[in-house]
């Protein structure tokens, strides 16, 4: 152990993070400076445009979490703007009850917006992409119709006057600063979320849902929080919008606006805050430069949308991502440092002499018996190899253990207690981690962020704490970052930490997945063909790494085709054939088992 520890100390990650943190904050600071000083150079009408851009951004910032981060195609978000505008206006005007102060009306609108954001968003938890898009579209259609019809409250087609905020926000510039301030706060809050475990979990749900589940991310709870937040800010934007317009009718809330919001995010690029912010400013200002084009603006937005989708799905954010243009060095080697595992896995939760057992597990798809009465015991600190020809049920076994399939009979037990059937995200809480045959990675996130996703459930702060960047949020982030750097160093990838994951080679992705799984400090680790696609040298290093993981106390289930690797490192081997145990025993026993040799190993 003469490896200098300084190399893997978080200090390294911090310097990396610090330089890029300034780089990340700089464009926002420039925009802040422009925004604050804007009244000095902008004249009357430009003030209205600037205010409108701020109002739109308040909505788009929240929608960005839904669309850009979570990848939910919510095309009817204008409905929440409408709702907020009418709620604020009607309460402030006193149509139905005594008039309320505008601030209170705005706050109530935020609550109403949050509730409806949740209602509109709920279908996303169960429905496929297109279905969800359609339901948001339907909701938008209906809200406008209700606004038109509910004359006694909304004034119907005649409309209702927007709220006027009291001094000092009643003048044009006063109101501008009010909106600008809210826009700045929204930027700050969503940027906090983006840089938190919640933001990373959202991108995982978007790009690698299966991996997100395996990391213990509960999609319903997380999306519900995001919809609440996004609905609330959208409704606040609605209240501001009503005040800016000074008078609102249902005509003001066409689907065109929804399209504008949506396209601003797509132009801006996914998982970015700056991109959609620039997109919003661009789309608000653009029509003003070409007055004859105003009638055609939505048409042009639609053309823009088509062009972006077909030509540059990454949006502005990808164009601005200079640091990932630099070529990576070629011929880089993955050199794991297993000696770091002791620190990383120090006392895994539930360590000791535990066991993960399968008893007479059976599962058939139609008439095909994928696994048929399988017994298996994986003990802490040991490596259990699972081999067999294609279609013998190896991956199915893994999927039963990690909850993707429900076994039809038999039981899977962790230390004697039966694992709940099909509850995938609870596996992570029981410290059962896994990797996948095809690596499931968030391609647009950095390698470090991908690994940090693995530690999502170990964060302690709540969504609101992250939103406001309270101490516990910062502590979580530092801890997760340090642990992830350690995990990356252990698998030999720390030099690639800041690189976009989709630029990595296949073998590097495999080791990234292992690092992500190690973030759970797993009591049991399930590896699905980790050596597939690796060079002979890399397989050797992988073997040493797995041995070290087991030595640190983790029980490993290794599904593999590389018989050499299995016989080199496993303590026990189970051979499957047609879903049944063909043989089980030590590597030496298996190697001389006649049936196994005939059926599988050859020779």
């Amino acid at each position: 152990m003469d490896m200098p520890m300084a190399q893997v100390r978080p200090g390294r990650a911090d310097t990396l993070g610090a330089t890029s943190a300034l780089g990340v904050a700089l464009p926002f600071l420039v925009l802040l400076a422009i925004g604050v000083t804007f009244p000095l150079f902008g004249g009357g009408y430009w003030g209205v445009i600037a205010t409108r851009a701020c109002v739109y951004w308040v909505l788009v910032s929240g929608l960005n979490l839904v669309v850009g981060f979570a990848g939910q195609i919510a095309i009817g978000w204008v409905a929440l703007l409408t709702l907020g505008a009418y709620t604020t206006s009607v309460l402030a005007a006193g149509n139905v009850m005594p008039a309320l102060p505008p601030y209170l009306a705005l706050a109530i609108a935020a609550v109403v917006g949050a509730i409806f954001g949740l209602i509109v968003g709920l279908p996303a938890l169960r429905l496929r992409t297109f279905y969800f898009a359609i339901t948001t579209l339907g909701f938008a259609t209906i809200v406008t119709q209700v606004a038109l019809a509910w004359q006694s409250v909304t004034g119907g087609g005649v409309g209702v006057a927007g709220p006027i905020f009291p001094k000092p926000f009643d003048s044009q510039w006063g109101f501008y600063y009010f909106c600008f301030g809210l826009a700045a706060i929204c930027t700050w809050m969503t940027a906090n979320i983006a840089a938190s475990r919640f933001g990373r979990a959202l991108t995982a749900i978007r790009d690698a849902e299966v991996a997100a589940e395996a990391c213990g991310i509960a999609k319903p709870q997380l999306l519900a929080l995001v919809f609440l937040f996004s609905g609330a800010v959208a409704a606040v934007a609605g209240g501001l919008f009503a005040s800016l317009q000074s008078y609102i009718t249902p005509d003001a809330f066409t689907l065109d606006l929804s399209v504008l919001f949506f396209i601003a995010i797509l132009i801006g690029g996914r998982s970015s805050i700056l991109g959609p912010l620039l997109g919003t400013i661009l789309l608000t200002v653009l029509p003003e430069f070409a007055a004859p084009l105003v009638a055609w603006s939505t048409f042009l937005y639609a053309v823009l949308l088509l062009v972006i989708v077909l030509a540059m799905p990454g949006g502005i954010a990808e164009l601005l991502d200079f640091k990932n243009r630099r070529p990576l060095e070629s011929g880089r080697a993955i050199v794991p440092r297993p000696e770091l595992l002791d620190r990383l896995l120090a006392a895994p939760a539930g360590a000791g002499a535990g066991a993960l057992t399968l008893e007479q597990v059976a599962l058939a798809f139609g008439g095909v018996h994928a696994i048929d009465g399988l017994d298996l015991e994986i003990r802490s600190g040991q490596i259990h190899g699972l081999i067999g020809p294609n279609g013998s049920g190896k991956t199915t076994t893994l999927n039963v253990i990690s909850g993707y399939y429900a076994q039809q009979s038999g039981a899977v037990r962790l230390n004697g207690a039966a694992l709940p059937v099909l509850e995938r995200h609870r596996r992570a809480h029981m410290r059962i981690a896994r990797t996948f045959q095809t690596p499931r990675i968030v391609g647009s996130a950095s390698v470090l962020q991908n690994v940090m996703i693995g530690g999502t459930i170990d964060g302690e702060c709540t969504f609101v704490e992250s939103l406001l960047s309270l101490p516990r949020h910062r502590r979580d982030e530092v801890l997760l970052r340090d642990t992830a750097m350690l995990a990356l160093a252990a698998v030999g990838l720390e030099r690639l930490a800041p690189v976009r994951a989709d630029r990595l080679q296949h073998s590097e992705l495999r080791f990234t997945e292992i690092a992500r799984a190690l973030m759970l400090r797993p009591a049991f680790l399930l590896l699905d063909e980790p050596a597939a696609g690796l060079s002979a040298e890399e397989i050797g290093r992988l073997g040493a790494l797995v041995v070290a993981i087991a030595r640190a106390g983790t029980g490993v289930l290794l599904v593999e085709h590389h018989a050499d690797l299995i016989f080199d490192i496993c303590h026990h081997v189970t051979v499957l054939n047609l879903g049944k145990n063909l043989a089980a025993g030590t590597p030496a026993e298996i190697r001389s088992h006649r049936e196994v040799v005939n059926a599988y190993l050859g020779g």
């Binding site: 709920l122 359609i134 339907g138 209906i142 639609a302 088509l306 798809f365």
Partner: protein
């Protein structure tokens, strides 16, 4: 009153069902839902009103030209918005590309045709009253399409090829079926059906650019409830939707009827995401 609810409900239901079939025909050929389904319906009404009402062409000519417009948009949808993104189906880019195309057509219509709803000409010169043509035309169109599709799918070679593509694209390609041409043909057919829906329902819905999103939503309800790709399910669900909407219209008033439809739609979908008649699909890891 009941008569009026039933005839209006069934007629509207037939239009929804036809748009649902439009979705299905496109879906069967490509595993993709397209936002242009409702736009096709809108276009059928606008083109009919343009050719027959404004330009004074004979009904038959106007009808064929309206259908031709639908066919054209169908083909354009396939080339511009579907084919380029089929490679990466799992990224759901088709949702955005077809939405963009639908908006382009809708906005173009709004600018060139106007944003006001304009009347659709009466197709047959017979007196109004009772069971009017505005009710039976959509029903006739729906019945024709259903019978026509059944005949096509069951008794013609090209129809069987459509079915083969819908069942298993890879296997169909391996058998040497010209997958791309068949997909294009399906989109052309879907375009004609969508335009027919708007044309037949023109008198009820008027020639209005805003019908696009409305039909896109209400036309999808039969698909979602009847099961993807299931035309019979779409017709049953479409008719039920039309009747339900009209009844709610009468009972709770026009606008809250849409709230009722939306609520029922969401609840049913949340309870049975695969549709009332559909089967759940196994997911694979």
């Amino acid at each position: 009153m009941v008569e009026s609810i039933v005839s209006t409900g069934l007629a509207i239901g037939c239009i929804y069902a036809l748009i649902g079939i439009t979705y299905n025909v496109m879906f069967s050929a490509s595993r993709v839902f397209s936002f242009t389904a409702g736009t096709l319906g809108m276009l059928g009404g606008v083109l009919g009103s343009l050719f027959i009402g404004r330009l004074g062409l004979p009904v038959a000519v106007g009808f064929l030209l309206a259908l031709a417009g639908g066919v054209l948009l169908g083909i354009v949808t396939e080339i511009v918005a579907v084919r380029p993104v089929l490679k990466s189906l799992d990224q759901h880019l088709y949702v955005l590309s077809t939405l963009a195309l639908a908006l382009i057509v809708q906005q173009f219509t709004a600018i060139e045709w106007g944003t006001e709803a304009r009347p659709f000409p009466r197709l047959f010169d017979i007196a109004r009253g009772g069971f009017d043509q505005q009710f039976w035309l959509p029903m006739l169109a729906c019945a024709t399409v259903i019978v026509g599709l059944e005949l096509l799918y069951r008794h013609t070679l090209i129809g069987r090829a459509f079915l083969a593509i819908a069942e298993d694209t890879y296997a169909a390609r391996a058998l040497g079926l010209p997958e791309r041409s068949l997909r294009m043909a399906s989109y052309a057919l879907a375009g004609a059906i969508g335009a027919l829906a708007g044309f037949a329902g023109g008198e009820m819905l008027l020639a209005f650019f805003g019908n696009g999103p409305m039909l896109t939503f209400y036309g999808f309800v039969p698909v979602a409830l009847g099961g993807m790709g299931n035309n019979r399910g779409a017709v049953v669900a479409g008719l039920l939707l039309g009747l339900f909407q009209q009844t709610a219209n009468f009972l709770v008033g026009g606008i809250f009827a849409s709230v009722a439809v939306f609520t029922v739609f969401i609840i049913v979908l949340l309870a049975r995401p695969e549709g009332l008649a559909g089967a759940a699909v196994q997911r694979r890891v």
